[in-house]
């Protein structure tokens, strides 16, 4: 019954038949991946082999290959020297007078914002000596709430991307800005103006920018016959169409998770890919903390997820129904019926799918909980669901009285992007568009497949394309214009709630002067001949008009908004729309008719929004490519995700390439089984599989899903067929790397099973209320004897420590990217990841619970980084004292002392030390390694990292060279910066004469991971301060150490996870009851252990 006993009950486990196809699920309570669960040969080989896969780099290719490779590299090396490389313009000009308040080397922060899909996230740009080096969330911004997701942080990398477009191209040939200006003055300034813009069309990206609206108005005024279109692959159309169905006008829904006790997510990934995810995750976390004074009174919200594809929200839900995404509509209808909503068509729709077993239980529980919580619950639908589901969600919320309490609406007048690009393609096809201006985006790659946009675009006589990167669309455009990055140009944007932020540049456009570089508003101003033409003046004029201020009033207002990073009171007013049940019923009926044509065992292909490359625009950013996907842990690729049952039924193996056909269109992709997928759902993330024009990092990464995505099936394509092509593909996946549960190769499964529940300690709410100290019972520490004399840390001024709350960690990976950005962690490439050489200082472990691989009971995530052990095993074995304790008890790594014996890594029980096997910082990441002696010393294969990329490095952190070990330092550079600052302050105020000692207030030092986390799971502070947050958290009964039995005395501790399932779930409370004798406390002595 307890998980501990389960391992012992199955002595046959190690000897049972093994097959790569999922075998009958072994009875294992916790497992890390399907390979682990099935204990496949591959998995055992990975875990237990001394030489990892492809250890022998010299094997394989023949002499001819060797000559080819060497010949090519020498030729390239020659080219590299001969061809002129563009060196960034640099001026070394000393200040004749230092600007006030500017200390060279001290970071300066600018409040700005960046926009994605028309929604802005407020950021703080950290700039050192004129170089922006890191993006952090603006704590006051309603959308970013101080957090910064991985994509937003990668904005820095995007600005310095060596493969960014830095020049104007005409018909693929290099040109310059003045040539374009001459052309546009003639074409737009004279000819088109005369004709009133006949035959002119604009295709823009979604934006909330008020200046863009103004420029658009100017443009339309100048060219009244021109047509304006908008396209975003992540359309957001369904919510607008759904609210229009429900309320008669389109709205944006704002669920308020902090107000809701019961949350039902109908295929809504609120915690990760939702445009407002940071805010939603923070609100969700506020209802998940174990902070009741008396554990018996602890309340937690309950999240139900209904989805076909395991998402981050699904991983963190208390109960999760795995149903096909198409059948989510039937679940919504069943909920509505269960709540007594009466509407035509609901019964038909609910009847299109039947739910049995656990799904039926969860559905019943969901209805029960919603009924019990009117006004304290919220039902949300995801962007991939049809409009009728959004309308039903609105109707259910209305019936429960949630509208206005747990969900509010603001008007959203954006057009249907699918309809907009369709009308453009139609007019292009009809030949009525002669001149097409594409502002941002990459429609040739990401427009719906049925529009055949590339061909349609070819019909326009002249096309102008403004983009950050010369992509597939640029390749077929007459003019390609380099776009300035948001770190380089002025602009304004709106957050999810409508709050306006001003985007301010922190660096000159990183391109030659003669290439200029345009922001969208500057380009529009130039084309429409409006004055002023500079972004700065345009944005100021917009704000001056909006705020109705001028002169000095405006100047002070302007300074204020630049300082704050947003303009107060510009959020959209909350609307109070009234439900039109008749219209909803109409939508429901037509959806029911459509769903009734789909058989229960039909395959559906679901397109998902990728939390790394978004719609494909971020595909060339190494940080994002290398970030393991939160759910699949795949790096450098997407995959066709399928359920373990389908995988088994079709006899597939991980990495088998299959062809998926929908409506006569076809894609090929490699399969990857994911626990918790609905049986007949296939899913593929958008934005991958781009060609060479997407940049060398994006090239051939993953599989392109756009060729089967059409205007009618943008998110769910029913009637898909899948057939094997016989090909195979290798994924680089990190899940089984760094496994702490199998340190000893001979450890039997029973042993692993005994260890897993001690690593991630969890229980459910009822159990927590009666056993609040459950986490302390999971392991018994026999003794506290140390082999060596322990480091004496008495009298330390600070005792830095960290607490990680597993209750609120969603596993999104923002901390991983934040750490990479702050600490100059190199990108290693797919090939190196496959060899287990990822450099991320933080890894996020993922564990499944339950004995059915198709429907895991729960999923747990656990970020693991250096535990900063007080009694550190790594320090004992370093022969050269390169890793030692400092006087604050930090386990520090002395890079210039390290000679790279890797002994510390061998002796680290947490496997969190990372070794620079090569000069990663100076070489380009390699996707696949081929050929004899394919690995070359970097100094003759490349001139080191690109000049641009060097500029991105954080000057406060050493860039590690080859042969050096590294690991989490608790952001020691931030600790020291704060120490210097506070000690200086203290000294200035009189030093010891005035106050006995100096101190750093709690919360001043934030580690980079802590700062990026939207849920506040990571808390850093000083244990010597009894009032600090981290002291409070580490004193909690649910606080525990990883591998406590090794007596490492970790400074990083976890708060055990408590979930709140609505259906009965086995408590994982183990039965090692020592509760009567009290001898289970952490400090059980050896003698006690011997007695028992």
């Amino acid at each position: 019954m307890s998980s501990l006993n389960q391992g012992e009950e199955r002595p046959e486990a190690t000897g049972c038949e093994r097959d790569d196809a999922p075998a009958a699920p072994a009875r294992r309570a916790y497992w890390r991946s399907l390979d682990d669960l099935q204990d496949t040969e591959d998995f055992r080989a990975w875990m237990h082999r001394e030489f990892p896969s492809d250890a022998d780099l010299l094997a394989g290719e023949d002499r001819r290959q060797f000559m080819k490779v060497m010949g090519a590299s020498f030729a390239l090396a020659g080219l590299g020297v001969a061809a002129c490389r563009r060196i960034p313009e640099s001026h070394i000009v000393p200040y004749s007078a230092r600007p006030a308040g500017r200390v060279p080397g001290n970071p300066v922060y600018f409040a700005s914002a960046c926009e994605r899909g028309g929604v802005a996230k407020g950021v703080l740009i950290k700039s050192i000596d004129g170089r922006p080096i890191k993006l952090e969330g603006n704590p006051d911004h309603a959308t970013s709430v101080g957090a910064c997701d991985s994509i937003t942080q990668s904005g820095i990398l995007e600005a310095y991307d060596p493969h960014r477009s830095r020049s104007v191209h005409r018909d693929g040939e290099p040109s310059d800005a003045s040539a374009f200006t001459t052309w546009s003055d003639q074409r737009f300034g004279i000819e088109l103006r005369k004709s009133g813009g006949a035959g002119l069309a604009i295709l823009a990206e979604a934006t909330g920018s008020p200046s863009m609206d103004r420029m658009r108005a100017d443009f339309v005024a100048a060219f009244p016959k021109a047509t304006w279109h908008e396209w975003e692959p992540i359309t957001g159309d369904a919510e607008r169409a759904g609210t229009e169905l429900a309320f008669g006008a389109s709205y944006r829904a704002h669920p308020m998770l902090d107000e809701a006790d019961v949350v039902v997510c109908l295929d809504a990934d609120l915690l990760s890919t939702h445009p407002n995810a940071n805010r939603l995750a923070r609100d969700w976390a506020s209802t998940r903390r174990l902070d009741a004074a008396d554990p018996a009174d602890q309340q937690l919200s309950r999240v139900y997820a209904v989805e076909g594809v395991l998402s981050i929200t699904g991983m963190n839900a208390d109960d999760r129904m795995a149903v096909r995404n198409g059948d989510v509509a039937a679940v919504a209808a069943s909920i509505a019926l269960g709540l007594g909503v009466s509407m035509n068509g609901l019964e038909d729709l609910a009847g299109t799918a039947t739910f049995e077993g656990r799904n039926a239980e969860i559905l019943a529980a969901m209805i029960r909980d919603l009924k019990a919580n009117p006004g304290k619950s919220v039902v949300t639908a995801g962007g991939g669901q049809p409009p009728a589901v959004h309308a039903m969600a609105a109707a259910i919320n209305d019936a429960l009285g949630n509208t206005g309490k747990t969900v509010t609406y603001t008007a959203d007048s954006a057009p249907s992007r699918t309809a907009s690009i369709r009308s453009l393609a139609d007019s292009l096809g009809a030949g009525t568009v002669e001149t097409l201006v594409v502002i941002g985006g990459n429609p040739v790659y990401d427009a719906p497949a049925d529009l055949d946009f590339a061909t349609a675009m070819g019909r326009a006589k002249e096309t102008v394309h403004l983009s950050l990167r010369a992509n597939a669309t640029s390749a077929v455009s007459t003019w390609h214009l380099p776009r300035t990055h948001f770190l380089e140009s002025w602009g304004d944007v709106r957050g999810y709630d409508g709050t306006i932020s001003v985007v301010q540049p922190t660096i000159q456009p990183m391109m030659p002067l003669e290439q200029k570089g345009w922001s969208p508003i500057e380009l529009l101003a130039q084309l429409s001949g409006a004055e002023p033409k500079e972004g700065y003046s345009i944005v100021r004029a917009t704000e001056s008009a909006r705020s109705r201020t001028t002169g000095t009033t405006f100047e002070s207002h302007w300074r204020e908004i630049l300082d704050a990073g947003m303009i107060a009171d510009t959020a959209w007013p909350i609307a109070t729309p009234s439900l039109d049940a008749g219209r909803v019923a109409g939508g429901v009926s037509s959806l029911a008719a459509a769903r009734s044509k789909v058989a229960a065992d039909d395959l559906e292909l679901v397109f998902t929004t990728d939390a790394r490359v978004y719609d494909g625009r971020f595909a060339n950013l190494g940080w994002l490519q290398e970030l393991p996907d939160a759910v699949t842990k795949i790096t450098w690729d997407n995959a066709l995700l399928i359920s373990p049952s389908l995988y088994k039924a079709r006899g597939l193996k991980t990495g088998d390439v299959v062809s998926v056909k929908v409506d006569g269109r076809e894609i090929e992709a490699a399969v990857f089984p994911v626990p918790g997928m609905a049986a007949n759902t296939l899913a593929i993330a958008l934005g991958w599989g781009q060609g060479a024009d997407a940049g060398p990092i994006a090239e051939n990464a993953g599989f392109d899903a756009y060729p089967v995505r059409t205007t009618t099936a943008s998110w769910i394509a029913d009637g898909a067929t899948m057939s094997s092509t016989g090909g195979t593909y290798a994924f680089a996946q990190t899940q089984d790397h760094g496994a702490m549960d199998a340190l000893i190769p001979a450890v039997p499964l029973g042993g692993i099973q005994e260890r897993l529940p001690t690593l991630v300690r969890e229980t459910n709410l009822e159990d927590y209320r009666t056993h609040p100290d459950f986490a302390k019972h999971r392991v018994h520490v026999a003794h506290r004897l140390s082999l060596w004399e322990e480091t004496n840390l008495d009298g330390a001024k600070f005792r830095w420590a960290m607490s990680v709350d597993l209750n609120t960690c969603t596993g999104c990976g923002s901390c991983v990217t934040a750490c990479q950005a702050e600490n100059n962690i190199p990108i290693v490439g797919k090939d190196q990841i496959a060899r287990g050489r990822e450099m991320h200082w933080i890894r996020i472990d993922r564990y499944f619970k339950g004995d059915d691989p198709s429907a895991p009971e729960a999923v747990f995530v656990q970020p693991v980084t250096c535990m900063q052990c007080e009694n550190a095993p790594c320090e004992q074995v370093c022969p050269v004292a390169a890793t030692v304790h400092d006087k604050d008890g930090l386990n520090v790594m002395v890079y210039n002392r390290c000679i790279g014996t890797r002994y510390c890594s061998n002796n680290c029980p947490y496997k969190v030390r990372r070794f620079n096997w090569f000069d990663y910082w100076r070489r380009d990441p390699i996707r696949e390694q081929e050929g004899l002696f394919a690995v070359k010393p970097e100094y003759y294969t490349s001139g080191g990292p690109d000049e641009w990329r060097r500029m991105q490095m954080n000057p406060e952190v050493t860039v590690r060279n080859r042969g050096v070990m590294e690991k989490c330092s608790f952001c020691v550079q931030r600790i020291n910066a704060a120490k210097i600052e506070y000690k200086n302050e203290w000294a200035k105020e009189g030093g010891a004469a005035e106050s006995p000692d100096w101190s750093i207030p709690d919360g001043v030092i934030q580690t980079s991971c802590q700062q990026a986390c939207s849920t506040g799971s990571i808390v850093f502070g000083d244990l010597n301060d009894p009032k600090s947050e981290v002291s409070r958290l580490q004193k909690k009964q649910v606080s525990y150490q990883l591998l406590e039995e090794l007596n490492t005395k970790t400074r990083v501790r976890y708060l055990a996870k408590v979930s709140n399932p609505g259906t009965p779930r086995k408590a994982s409370h183990d039965d090692h009851h020592h509760a009567d004798d009290g001898g289970h406390a952490a400090a059980t002595t050896l003698a006690e252990e011997v007695r028992s």
Binding site: E50, H737, V877, P879, V880, W917
Partner: protein, 175 residues
Amino acid sequence: MSSIRSDQVGGRIVDNTEEVPGTRAPLVLNMDTFGQVTNAVSKVSEAGGAPIAWYIGFAGALGLLGVLGFCVLYLIFTGVGVWGLNTPIAWAYDITNFVFWVGIGHAGTLISAILFLFRQKWRTGINRFAEAMTIFAVMCAGIFPGIHVGRVWVVYWLFPIPNYQDMWPTFRSPL
């Protein structure tokens, strides 16, 4: 020296197998001069030069040594990653090779020591062979701890060399 002894002919000792108390038996018989001794010893290796097969064998061995040299240089110039190691498995080829050669070395020492302890008179030839094997095996083994480190150029930090920074190796480390 007054009596005539049966092992002497004309004052020269011709038989050194007989023990005469108080007199050390000569080690070399029938050789008058050092020159004769030198000739006798050197003839074995110098007369007639080496056979062709020796040259072929030597070239082969040298070639293999060259491969070693090339691979070690490749390793040093490129990074220890070429060994195919990864993070949980930070030592593989290096430690395997080290242990392998140390094992060979142990075998040589063992052979030599056993024969010596049992006072086997015929041991000398085998001992030379075994001890040579040990020496070379230890040399081979010694390469690996040296080149397995990430920064070979500072490998001397492993040794307790006095320095002005007062940095000493951690003696507690088994390395």
